[in-house]
């Protein structure tokens, strides 16, 4: 049984790391699957984007109408890619930080397959028009029940892995992971209970939906990504974290206030709820500043040598800071959230903050798990994603500001409000195209490495030919 964790304390450091990485090899399943969803998501986003300036494209195809492709692109990103890959990465981080092997290799493998089945059912349902109609919760019950069940298995394995850690101080990444592992199931089941299984009445649905969408980003995905940033930035520059106190402040202020948001000015909700959300969005500047300054100072204390992959995490950190500010603006300024600005801020958070951090982590982790070194496609992935995110999200932000200026002037007819956005929408298609290329690049790299690894394993088993050149697994923290 792979279930019982192995203490690696008595082994030498290199052996320890090799054992841990070997136990985590199962995580290649969710990582590869996540990258397939990522590519699919961006292809759907490309169709969505093209449709905005060529509205007759695929007009006869009910499945690929704009109202289907956009939620599919978003859901495939969040549930197919970010949640799945994020879980895989944090499990690996838990093993490395706890100096223990992964608990429950077989259950995790099976649950990962089912997770993907859940996402596939959900995506297919949206394609055929059987969405639930709630943002970020579009998957029908069949898909979401499978998601929850497989999440429960993976989550429990994660908690057991955390429990099996070697004694010693816990590290900020572990706090974020532990919290996030609870946040997601609580949020998801509460929201589904109150929206789909025992639906609340009228505008309460909007309240639950907004509360969930906020938690999904601010608690679950942000928690995972901050765990990744806290782990990789000090590790790559090879210095200890600048300040543990700042990390504590950042963590608790996010944990306490992160859930108070999700609404913006003008929504048909009681005014005090909007006020709470605005205050929440403003208070989130505290964890943002604490975290960003902490990690930035850590970066400054490191050597100035160029470290591969560090750019992913640095850029993600910048987008984290910007994203918090954009969210605050979209919450406070009337109607801004309804323009392209809202969409742009969301996509910058998805690709700039969450995406880049996960990409960097995947590049790093997959090298360790497969034992293959290759720099192919890293540059393509990095630059295509960065420029793509800026041309898509950034241009939307800019277009949104122009659109907003006209939208709040009631004298201007609506077609003229939209006319101003057309050039921005056209440029954004180029951005999405770059994102597709970047996503294809990381999938190609990871798939290539996994292939080499598998071939190597087969050769070892048949014990004949010379194994391909392998690099010893990377140095552990």
């Amino acid at each position: 049984m792979n279930g019982s964790p192995t203490s690696t304390a008595s082994l030498s450091r290199e052996e320890q790391v090799a054992r841990i990485d070997a136990s985590c090899r199962v995580l290649l399943i969710p990582i590869v699957a996540a990258l397939v969803w990522l590519l699919l998501s961006s292809v759907f986003m490309l169709i969505t984007s093209v449709k905005l300036h060529s509205p007759t494209l695929l007009a006869n195809c009910a499945w690929l109408t704009y109202g289907h492709t956009r939620p599919i692109a978003n859901d495939a990103f969040v549930y197919g890619f970010a949640s799945q890959a994020g879980l895989a990465i944090v499990l690996w981080i838990l093993c490395r930080l706890g100096r223990t092997t992964l608990v429950g290799v077989v259950p995790i493998a099976i649950a990962s397959l089912f997770w993907n089945l859940g996402v596939a059912i959900g995506v297919f349902a949206i394609l055929t028009g059987r969405t639930t109609g709630f943002e970020w919760l579009e998957f029908p019950s069949a898909g979401s029940a499978i998601l929850i069940a497989s999440y429960a298995i993976i989550g429990i394995c994660g908690l057991l892995t955390f429990k099996a850690r070697q004694p010693g101080d816990t590290y900020p990444s572990q706090w974020y992971i532990l919290a996030a592992l609870f946040w997601f199931p609580w949020l998801y089941t509460t929201a589904r209970l109150l929206l789909i299984w025992f639906p609340a009445r009228g505008v309460m649905q909007l309240a639950v939906n907004g509360w969930y969408a906020n938690g999904l980003f601010t608690l679950w995905l942000t928690g995972i990504v901050l765990a990744i940033l806290f782990y990789f930035i000090p590790k790559l520059v090879n210095v200890p974290l600048h300040s543990r106190t700042l990390a504590v402040i950042g963590f608790w202020s996010l944990a306490v206030f992160g859930g108070f948001g999700g609404f913006y000015r003008g929504q048909p909700l009681p005014a005090w709820m909007i006020s709470v959300a605005i205050s929440g969005a403003a208070i989130l500047l505290v964890p943002m500043i604490a975290t960003v300054s902490n990690l930035w100072l850590t970066l400054g204390e490191g050597t100035n040598a160029r470290v591969p992959l560090l750019g992913f995490f640095k850029t993600s950190l910048i987008f984290f800071a910007l994203g918090t500010v954009f969210t605050l603006f979209a919450t406070v300024v009337p109607q801004l959230r309804l323009t392209l600005f809202g969409e742009g801020a969301e996509q910058l958070a998805l690709y700039g903050f969450i995406g880049l951090a996960l990409f960097g982590a995947i590049h790093y982790v997959v090298s360790r798990l497969t034992g293959v070194t290759s720099d192919r496609f890293i540059g393509a992935n990095c630059w295509a994603t960065l420029i793509g995110a800026l041309l898509f999200g950034g241009v939307y932000l800019l277009g949104g500001i122009f659109q907003h200026k006209r939208l709040i002037n009631g004298e201007i007819v609506f077609t003229d409000v939209m006319n101003i956005t057309k050039p921005f929408i056209r440029i954004s298609t180029i951005g999405v195209l770059l994102l597709v290329i970047g996503n294809a690049a990381i999938l190609a790299r990871v798939a290539g490495m996994v292939r080499v690894c598998c071939r190597h394993c087969c050769r070892c088993c048949s014990d004949e030919e010379q194994p391909v050149k392998l690099k010893p697994a990377g140095a552990a923290r």
Partner: protein
């Protein structure tokens, strides 16, 4: 911070706090909202069958991705009108002249009656309106204040008042929307568009709105060869957008349901929590469907 249980408890407490504040407390406040009686009718009403089916078509096609259904309001102003001559003509004219120096007091006074209320002041803040009303009343003129919600959405005639929770009482799932890539649809049924307009617009939005970026929903229509007698349901599509060949375009049941739903979208009824005045032009007689909860029974022209 070395104890898992400590983190667990802290995280649980903060999660419950956010749930309590933003889900449970609002549920106590608005979760048990009921329909109210406005002018002898219950508001809101459930949608008729076809429109109710259309709601599901709206959801299934993801219309919410581009269309919000929430009218936003920046604030409000007041008009002051007089609805009659009163008892002391000389005095009223004098006060009129001092309240609103720009208007021709005697002309306005002569025209004022119950059926043709005359605006004295337009778009003034509450304090000024109250003051003018008090002075006119003291002079003996039947003066009234008219409550006018203002904001770009009102200027575009997307609605007379802001949207409130009651407007969504019977909808499931509620489709409030977060995007205005398309216009707000909260009151699209109040706009002067008939079924044919909506059907043509769905079939090819550019037939009706030049430069629209809305996708064409041609899959909601059936193209079939023309018979000896054209179908009475066939759309007459402008040459430029019509399909090639000898075919006619018939709306599917889904298209008809969707149009019924769109035409049922009308939440202009004034409520206590969101008072408003009618959008009818000012030349019309004083509206009889006056808001119950306001002191504003008079029509106000949209700008």
């Amino acid at each position: 911070m070395n104890h898992g249980p400590l983190i667990f408890l802290g995280v649980l407490a903060s999660f419950v706090a956010s749930w309590w504040t933003l889900v449970f407390a609002p549920h106590l406040q608005i979760g048990t909202d009921k329909a109210v009686e406005v002018d002898g009718h219950l508001y809101p009403k459930g949608r008729p069958g076809l429109a109710s089916q259309g709601h599901q078509v709206y959801v299934a096609n993801g219309c919410v991705q581009c269309h919000s259904q929430q009218v936003q309001q920046d604030g409000y102003t007041f008009d002051v009108v007089i609805t009659g001559a009163g008892t002391n003509a000389e005095n009223v004219i004098k006060v009129l002249a001092s309240v609103a120096p720009d208007i021709k007091a005697d002309e306005l006074f002569a025209k004022a009656s119950d059926n043709a209320p005359q605006p004295v002041l337009r778009n003034v803040p509450q304090r000024i309106a109250e003051d003018a009303q008090r002075r006119l009343k003291r002079a003996g003129a039947p003066a009234q204040m008219v409550f006018i919600p203002v904001g770009p959405d009102m200027a575009r005639q997307w609605g007379m008042r802001r949207s409130v929770g009651k407007d969504y009482l019977y909808d499931y799932p509620v489709q409030v929307g977060n995007s205005r890539l398309g216009p707000d649809l909260a009151n699209v049924g109040a706009r002067p568009w008939d079924d044919t307009w909506h059907l043509l617009h769905l079939y090819h939005p550019r037939t009706m709105v030049k430069g629209s970026i809305m996708p064409a929903y041609q899959y909601l229509f059936e193209e079939r060869p023309k018979g000896k007698q054209p179908s009475p349901h066939a759309l007459s599509i402008p040459e430029e957008f019509a399909p090639k060949g000898d075919v006619e375009v018939i709306p599917t049941p889904e298209a008809l349901q969707l149009v019924a739903y769109l035409r049922s979208l009308n939440v202009n009824t004034p409520l206590f929590e969101a008072p408003a005045t009618s959008l009818a032009p000012s030349s019309a007689p004083a509206s009889t469907n006056a808001p119950a909860a306001t002191n504003a029974p008079v029509a106000n022209p949209p700008k």
